[in-house]
Symmetry: C2
Subunit: 241 residues, 2 copies
Amino acid sequence: MTESPAEAGGPAAPEGVPVAFQDPSYLAAVVDLLGAIAYGAISAFERLAEDAKMAPTLEDKAELAKMASTEFGHFRRLRDRLGALGAEPYDAMQPFVKPFESFHGRTAPSDWLEGLVKAYVGDGLSADFYREIAAFLDADTRRLIIDSLTDAGQSEFVVDRVRKAIAADHRVAGRLALWGRRLMGEALTQAQRVAAERDALTALLAGGIDRPGLDLAAIGRMFTRITERHNERMAEIGLSA
Amino acid sequence: MTESPAEAGGPAAPEGVPVAFQDPSYLAAVVDLLGAIAYGAISAFERLAEDAKMAPTLEDKAELAKMASTEFGHFRRLRDRLGALGAEPYDAMQPFVKPFESFHGRTAPSDWLEGLVKAYVGDGLSADFYREIAAFLDADTRRLIIDSLTDAGQSEFVVDRVRKAIAADHRVAGRLALWGRRLMGEALTQAQRVAAERDALTALLAGGIDRPGLDLAAIGRMFTRITERHNERMAEIGLSA
């Protein structure tokens, strides 16, 4: 064993883990964040696999199954990273079960197209949000998070299918635009709930003595950016936000 | 372009494809077989993802999600191989939708343990069957099939969970043993149905002018071997077959 930070007098941090984690509140925040993203990934796996049942063709079903498998791959890496940070991965995910399940429970798609829009919007929203937060993290954690947001070509598939459906029947656009707004609303509700309950996470955004943070105005601008990107995505898919 | 078998006067076969495929009935049989295995893989993906919902813990759920993702990986390779052989992959899978869906429809697990036993028995049975058939194929196809049967550690997980459940409540063993027999029965029913309907596949087993095949006695011995291995698997999991 080589000399570890713990032996040198600092707080315990597993070997091979960046020095930033010597700050226990930073470690707690990152464990919270990775727990949230990991649970989000496995719950996305479940929902995509469920929605795949509504696919009109075997080929479409395979596309959703591919997205589900990609989410499982992200889950696995995040879970392993939690373990490497010395956390019990499933304990770290537990606080986020309820918000994610509430979100999914309130936004169960009633057909294939709603499922596609949900996959696209949900994926985009969470990617934007995680990317914003990742800017406040150490390089290793940031890279892990950014990598776990890689789009496996699903956007192209969804955009193609939804645009075709709208071209075939224009009434579809109004219904799906409403659906997109509802998804956004429910996602914000759950994000707010998590922010209210998870002090470590909000402390991360608010910064610390030695770490720059976001003031209320900056948090407001962040949500404005996320909303704007959501609107762009809706436009891309042929829907008014 | 280099000189292809087609230009040399033989029947058309895509480039990079073994010479065995110049026999159109062999090509048809392999397309059928890969179509069956591919559809089996994506339908296993769906069922495992569905059964994951019954998991008692998040960790158990992740194990089933891993199996589902592994099945999707197999599906993807088999589908790509079908394309490389010049077949329309989803057309090749179509004849097997009904038998697999019938099997799954008749064997919907009523709880988590039944789901585990089904994953274990179903995976084992199909692996044994495909391995037997693979012996009659060209080396490339054989390798692809054998690779797509690799156990991703799921057996160990299932054996552990089922043995623990039996230790906790001995009555579980009787119920799951019955369940295992029912799974075997339904699998044989569907295999028989496929054999009766897919001439190319049965011709492969029966052999051809230039290819050794199985006579009825040999087919009987093959099913005996498959049944014996099923019994071994049931014993391994702590159940009488």
